[in-house]
Symmetry: C2
Subunit: 238 residues, 2 copies
């Protein structure tokens, strides 16, 4: 019998408390689940504080600490990282998230940033918290490889503009992204799910882009922000 | 006082039953919520069977029939449509979903198909049900404008191949999508979330595509199927 077999109610309560932002903030910890994610955490520069395996703690304890509908075989408690803004931002492709609120979108965008080799993701302070369990799951492990810096997006844009660098954003009245020349050194802004890019940020954008619709009817919808990010990053990298 | 004020428990039970596929199938109905979605349903060729407004039925009844965390002001019961395969499939861009299981992905793909002017979406019989409430919400209204035909995807591919038409699919060993010439008349196959395109379908694909990663590290992840669909359709249309 493993030493973990006697998991106490206090242990369980402490792990379950990490489902709430308040306690994640207080302890500076977060939870990842599943063989693949836990392995990625252990192989990364993140500090893995605890690992709980179903065969050690038992099915019942695992079902109490797991948030999955069918409890995962393994769950880890990991220490949060918080990145500061670098003094100098080297040449490269950067993403700025202006109030992205949906955890699934945020996680998908971090995953996309990894795929498309985005150097750093910047997110406004009112964007969804990186260590929200739904964000973590949606990153599919990219969270352990990508730097996400929370900061003021209008101020970040200003730094780029002052250095003569490009700041791109997508708007309804922008230039067709498929025909416009896109610089390799760039900050690309993605906006809020309902309201798009905020006024304060929009004022700093140097190049307004449009992803045109090819809909046949008159009533084509907007695009989901994660999907718009995919199309935009694909255009910058192709 | 409106005639709806006296909504009976039986009415409520009947609407709530439509959360389950079994009853959606039995009645041939589905539910949409929110001003925008209900308006789109009413403006479409779909048959809207009933409309319930919060100000008519009261807050409590609405909170019982609504699936939203904050009950929407309006909810409609709509008759399902089921499309048959056309005898002739005219020239155009088509999507074939080979076992897409996640409702959010399915809904996002239908929304994307509307944006990129995909003529018809074909889905394998084991793909998620179109009238699942999570699919409906993720389509953001595109469900009322797009034809989704459930059919055998390998057989559909065969029809295209026999007519000398192109069938594209994304694979890890495909040709770079950014440099390959893409035909305007095409069937594009997207695969299952975990397993990709099935063997039976893969055998029928005429042109294997690859969305290359630009990740700097060695461990870049795969892409989510909705995001891969966005990038692929964007390349076909640009």
């Amino acid at each position: 019998m493993s030493i973990f077999a006697e998991m106490t109610n206090a242990d369980i309560k402490y792990i379950r408390s990490l489902r709430e932002k308040k306690f994640r903030d207080e302890y500076g910890l977060f939870v990842v689940e599943g063989e693949k994610m836990v392995k990625e955490a252990m192989d990364s520069s993140f500090d893995v504080v605890d690992v709980f395996r179903k065969e050690e703690i038992g099915e019942e304890a695992m079902s109490r600490i797991s948030t999955m509908s069918s409890p995962s075989p393994v769950l880890a408690v990991v220490r949060q990282k918080h990145w500061e803004m670098d003094r100098d931002i080297p040449e490269g492709l950067y993403l700025g998230l202006d109030s992205v609120r949906d955890p699934g979108n945020m996680g998908t965008i971090v995953r996309l940033s990894d795929w498309f080799g985005v150097d750093t993701v910047f997110a406004s302070e009112d964007s969804v918290e990186l260590y929200n369990p739904k964000v973590i799951q949606a990153t599919m492990g990219a969270i352990f490889r990508k730097k996400v810096v929370y900061c003021s997006i209008p101020r970040l844009c200003e730094c780029f503009v002052n250095a003569g660098r490009k700041v791109y954003g997508t708007f309804l009245d922008g230039e067709n992204i498929y025909s416009k020349h896109l610089e390799k050194d760039a900050l690309v802004i993605m906006g809020n799910e309902s309201n798009g890019i905020s006024k304060a940020t929009a004022e700093k954008v140097t190049d307004r882009l449009l992803i045109p619709s090819f809909a046949k009817g008159p009533t084509a919808e907007s695009l989901n922000v994660a999907v718009a990010t995919a199309i935009t990053l694909s255009e910058f990298r192709r």
